[in-house]
């Protein structure tokens, strides 16, 4: 090996690339505690293998692999590949560069700058990148640009991709303005912002006769860099990521005198990076379907079964198991009557009988015992053991006991729920949304945004143009609450879990406490209306309310919450014409009897009602009764 490597290094102008393999974030917790991001199996092959294969196919001759954590594992892996004489080792030399002190992507590049390994233009690859792009023409193009524009520091590579395509990570949505020669004039990540307007500096339009505004792009996480890039990182200590770099260059264009260009690929050229579970999911899918040909998962190692199931070596699957769109590692054992869909099962994991797993990731060496359910975005870390009949939903689970632990988060001897502490309270909404966007792709309509009239806000409307009420956040919140409750009632889920679910959607949609109270009650009542209005109806309604008692208790804590609740009753009753006085009576009676609302609250609310309304008449008998009862009781006291 050493002889060969010397030969390659001596080659004067070898085409060079840098891969930074650490992500410096917690997207893949708890799995990333045990497995470095680079060695995370993607269709049963470590991610780094795809990246290296792509680089060698793309024409790179020397690669610097920069790693800060799990150094030994990565070094060992690279050595093993060289021993096995993997294809890429034949044309490309890989140098593992180590620095344990780096805390960000920017630090890594500063470190590399100090080491001075790089000679000319090079390719910069962010962690987890998988692609089939031929890099040499792109390098050539960048070189041509630098001949015209001496300040050209970087060419960002994008892939054209329609809005809402699954391969676009909603967190990385980018809006870019370029001039006719591809120079980037404006670059903004739209991911977690909910701004209704985007502001552009006017001068970019006046200085360039045509400006392209593009929102149909997917970041490939590949960039072609001039030698100036590394010193620029060294000079600007606040550059932590590549996006910081781009932003910094655009902001200080006059000072730094540096420019950024873009290149948009079309057709069969594919690029993307595994940055979170959602992109993990889409890239698995795309690799499986050979979108990234010739880069592809190992054909020998995997068995391709029906219903989009892939299994590694020595997998044991019982005949009665129902599998759909599952990728399994080596030595996986699947028991009888197991139902797994849209999930990933890593190597050496055992799933016992009658287990349901859906939209989840089960890490290596796990044991999922009988009749458990693992649902909706759950991630099990290495060696987790899920006890019998356990229910886990949307949780990160690890096998070792964390330092600080709430008793609720203990799921078993080797299963502890991991709660990520978010220290930035003001960003809570953004963070919750960001989390949501980086989870597995669960709901097809998640990316759908309300299409409302962004112009009308500032425009002083000449006349009262009516617009359709756009599905706003509260409305989305409401439908989500209904969904949660319906599912909870049907599957007999614990109300505590439902409360958690409702609260998390509350943060995601930025809904006030009052609205939460209002919509939760409204949702329960609306659910009851799905039943036929027969004689059975009221017993059904009672059963429903009975089931949700913990939820009602949780939300109806004070008088203002009770008023919200009563308003919900009013809202439902007035918007459904076929609801009779009997219904109103029954609901109020029930809430009153079970102490969800107090007499004072009811009377206070009653006084706010419109006296002429039909609804007022419907409530009247009940309040009359209340007052009578009070008088009676007070007279009794005497």
């Amino acid at each position: 090996m050493s002889n060969k490597s010397k030969e390659l290094v001596q080659k004067e102008n070898a085409v060079q690339a840098i891969i930074v393999v650490d992500t410096f974030d917690d997207e893949f917790l708890p799995l990333s505690n045990d497995i470095p991001h680079a060695l995370l199996p993607l269709v049963n092959k470590p991610i780094i293998d795809y990246t290296l294969e792509f680089l060698s196919l793309g024409g790179i001759e020397e690669t610097f692999l920069f790693c800060c954590t799990h150094i030994d594992a990565i070094k060992q892996h690279i050595n093993k590949c060289v021993e096995n004489a993997e294809e890429w080792t034949q044309t490309m030399k890989v140098n593992v560069v180590v620095s344990e002190s780096c805390r960000s992507f920017g630090d890594c590049l500063r470190d590399l700058d100090a080491k001075g390994y790089l000679r000319g233009d090079f390719v910069l690859v962010e962690p987890g990148t998988i692609s089939n792009i031929n890099l040499l023409p792109l390098l050539e193009k960048h070189n041509k640009i630098t001949k015209i524009d001496k300040g050209a520091a970087m060419t960002l590579i994008f892939q054209e991709s329609g809005l809402g395509h699954i391969s676009r990570c909603p967190k990385e949505e980018v809006l870019m303005a370029t001039n006719s020669s591809g120079r980037v004039l404006f670059h903004k990540k739209l991911g977690t912002t909910r701004e209704r307007k985007i502001e552009f500096p006017l001068e970019i339009f006046l200085e360039n006769s045509t400006v392209s505004l593009r929102h149909n792009l997917k970041d490939t996480h590949i960039s072609i860099c001039s030698p100036a890039v590394l010193p620029l990182f060294s000079d600007n200590f606040d550059f932590q990521t590549r996006d910081d770099f781009v932003r910094g260059l655009l902001m200080n264009e006059e000072i730094l005198g540096m420019t950024v260009y873009s290149n948009v690929l079309k057709g069969g050229q594919f690029g993307g990076a595994v940055t979170n579970w959602r992109t993990y999911q889409t890239l698995s899918h795309e690799l499986k379907n050979n979108y990234v040909y010739p880069v592809q998962p190992s054909q020998k190692h995997n068995s391709f079964l029906k219903n989009d199931v892939i299994a590694g070596q020595n997998a044991t699957i019982s005949k009665s198991a129902k599998l759909n769109n599952v990728i399994m590692g080596d030595n996986v054992k699947i028991g009888e009557n197991v139902d797994i869909s849209n999930s990933f099962i890593f190597s050496n994991t055992k799933v016992e009988d009658n287990v349901t797993i859906s939209l989840s990731i089960v890490g290596p060496n796990c044991l999922v015992k009988e009749k458990s359910k693992i649902l909706a975005g759950t991630v099990l870390g290495k060696g987790v053991q899920i006890e019998k009949e356990c229910f886990v939903e949307d949780a990160l689970v690890q096998s070792t006991r964390p330092d600080e632990l709430d008793s609720r988060d203990v799921l078993g001897k080797h299963a502890f729920r991991l709660v990520l502490d978010d220290n930035e309270p003001e960003d809570v909404v953004d963070l919750a949304l960001a989390r949501k966007l980086s989870r597995l792709h669960i709901d097809q309509n998640l990316g759908e945004e309300s299409e409302d009239d962004g112009f009308s806000e500032s425009e002083d409307e000449r006349s009262s143009y009516t617009h359709s009420p756009a599905p706003d956040d509260t409305k989305l919140f409401f439908t989500e609450v209904i969904d949660s409750l319906t599912r909870g009632f049907e599957d007999k889920l614990q109300c505590d879990n439902l409360i958690l679910e409702i609260n998390s959607s509350r943060y995601a949609y930025n809904v006030t406490v009052k609205e939460v109270n209002f919509f939760v009650i409204k949702a329960i009542l609306i659910m009851s209306l799905r039943q036929p209005m027969g004689p059975q109806y009221f017993s059904q309604l009672q059963r429903l309310l009975q089931y949700f008692v913990p939820i009602l208790k949780n939300y109806l804590r004070n008088e203002s919450a009770m008023l919200d609740c009563l308003q919900a009753v009013e809202d439902v009753a007035t918007s459904n014409e076929n609801l009779t006085e009997k219904w109103v009576m029954f609901v109020l009676q029930y809430f009153y009897d079970k102490d969800h609302v107090t007499e004072d609250a009811i009377l206070k609310w009653y006084s706010t009602l419109d006296k002429k309304s039909n609804f007022h008449a419907q409530v009247k008998p009940f309040t009359d009764w209340l007052q009578e009862a009070e008088e009676a009781s007070s007279s009794e006291d005497e």
């Binding site: 985007i198 001068e203 006046l206 392209s212 149909n216």
Partner: protein, 458 residues
């Protein structure tokens, strides 16, 4: 019974030319001489070439007879229906003029400004309108390479107005239109627009020709709304913005059927034919790719832009520099403009030319009298103008009924209607206002010479 025409053409010729008042005081703007023809002739001729047999022309009342008599002599086949607007209506906007003739407009409308000289065929913009059953289609022209001309009059820095025009690259939808001067430092677009049209090109150098094709409902909508004064400034931006809105959903299907007609909402006007919608929904055609949205995003309001090819030119003669530019170029551009169907006749047969120093770039109108021993280069001499002996005129525009006495030297000047240049004058880079008399033996450079009280009016 006659067949309903597909399009009706309207020429807006009631403008006063307030941006070039130095030369438009004594002459209707639309009759400014350009080469051998008055300005409005070029718009009318283009319409005639596009196949129009009739045109409605909006003119100022006091100018009508003059315009009529001038156009009579130009041998146009197109039938002109003059509609007068009273000169008392100060600065009647383009949208307001269109509103005046609302009753005459029964088809879709092609609106042309009288000051647009071009070699672009109107077919392009009409076709894109037809193709997408558009609400509005607009014709845009690419800018001409910059050339340096010395424009007569005081030296001033001319700053052209710039528009910001946003066009979807895939569909040619016109998604944004505003004047660059409306913004100070920042320019904002709604996020929803960027999500709907994911690849927009914003142009800041295109010339809006003020040629618009309007669906008939737009004219009807214009009538019902009082607030629009100009097409470019208000009506068009409004309709373009409305593309992003969705029509209000009928709250109750029983009542909405009756109410839609008269609630004044733009969507009540833009409503498409049920059959058209059905045909579109059943067809596999889609105007865009990249998302899974239906054809045209189900918009009933659709605005399009047609950008003329680079080799074509178009110029709006509404400023002195553009007027000067087109006069210098007209003989060169003539074959393109007329499509070689009309011969360029520089010297009218009824002109009285005794001079033997008239170069081939000169244009001499009917009734002009050029005496012996005069010299002309690259100039336009209009009707009934007399130039006496021993005078020379270089690179200049001499309008109608001008008298130029002996031993006068005129270079790079515009001499307006009825002016008199007395003997021995030397004028360079000057504008002489209408009916002004330049006194004997005077010398002027880079000046506007006019009776000051005449200019005061404007």
């Amino acid at each position: 019974m006659t067949l309903q025409a597909e399009f009706q053409a309207v020429v807006l010729a009631a403008g006063r030319g307030s941006r070039m008042s130095e030369v438009t005081t004594g002459i209707p703007k639309c009759l400014l001489p350009i080469g051998p023809k008055p300005l409005v002739w070029y718009s009318l001729y283009k319409l005639q070439c596009a196949g129009f047999s009739d045109v409605i022309m909006i003119v100022l009342e006091n100018e009508k007879s003059e315009i009529h008599s001038v156009l009579e002599k130009t041998n146009l086949d197109i039938k002109i229906d003059y509609v007068c607007v009273s000169e008392k209506d100060e600065d009647l906007g383009t949208a307001e003029s269109l509103k005046l003739i609302n009753d005459k407009l029964t088809s879709d409308v092609l609106v042309v400004s009288c000051d647009f000289v071009t070699d672009v065929d109107f077919k392009g913009v009409l076709d894109i309108f037809r193709m997408h059953n558009a609400s509005v289609a607009s014709l845009l022209v690419q800018p001409q390479p910059n050339e340096v001309f010395v424009v007569p009059g005081p030296k001033s820095k001319h700053k052209p107005e710039r528009d910001l025009i946003g066009i979807d690259t895939q569909t040619n939808r016109l998604v944004f239109l505003a004047s660059a001067s409306d913004f100070e430092t920042d320019f904002s677009l709604p996020t929803s627009l960027l999500k709907k049209h994911t690849h927009i090109k914003i142009y800041s150098n295109l010339i809006d020709s003020h040629v618009y094709v309007l669906k008939n409902w737009v004219v009807k909508y214009l009538k019902s709304e009082d607030s629009f004064t100009s097409i470019k400034g208000e009506l068009l931006p409004h309709i373009i913005k409305k593309q992003l809105s969705k029509p209000p959903k009928p709250v109750n299907t029983n009542t909405s059927v009756i109410n839609t007609g008269d609630n004044g909402d733009i969507f009540a006007f833009s409503k498409e034919d049920e059959l058209d919608i059905n045909i579109r929904n059943t067809s596999s055609y889609n105007d865009h790719t990249g998302d899974l949205k239906p054809t045209y995003h189900e918009d009933s309001i659709r605005c399009y832009a047609h950008i003329a090819p680079k080799e074509n030119f178009g110029v709006r003669v509404n400023t002195l520099p553009s007027y000067w530019w087109i006069n210098n170029k007209i003989s060169e551009k003539w074959p393109q403009i007329t499509g070689d169907r009309l011969e360029f006749v520089p010297v009218h047969p009824k002109a009285d030319v005794k001079s033997n120093q008239v170069d081939n770039k000169c244009v001499i109108w009917e009734g002009a009298k050029l005496n012996e021993k005069t010299s002309f280069k690259n100039s336009i001499i209009c009707s009934n103008t007399e130039v006496c002996s021993f005078s020379r005129v270089f690179n200049s525009i001499i309008m109608n009924n001008v008298t130029i006495k002996e031993k006068v030297a005129i270079e790079n000047c515009i001499i307006c209607d009825g002016a008199t240049i007395e003997g021995g004058c030397q004028l360079k880079n000057c504008i002489v206002g209408s009916h002004h008399t330049v006194s004997e033996q005077s010398e002027h450079t880079n000046e506007v010479l006019t009776e000051s009280d005449r200019l005061m009016e404007f």
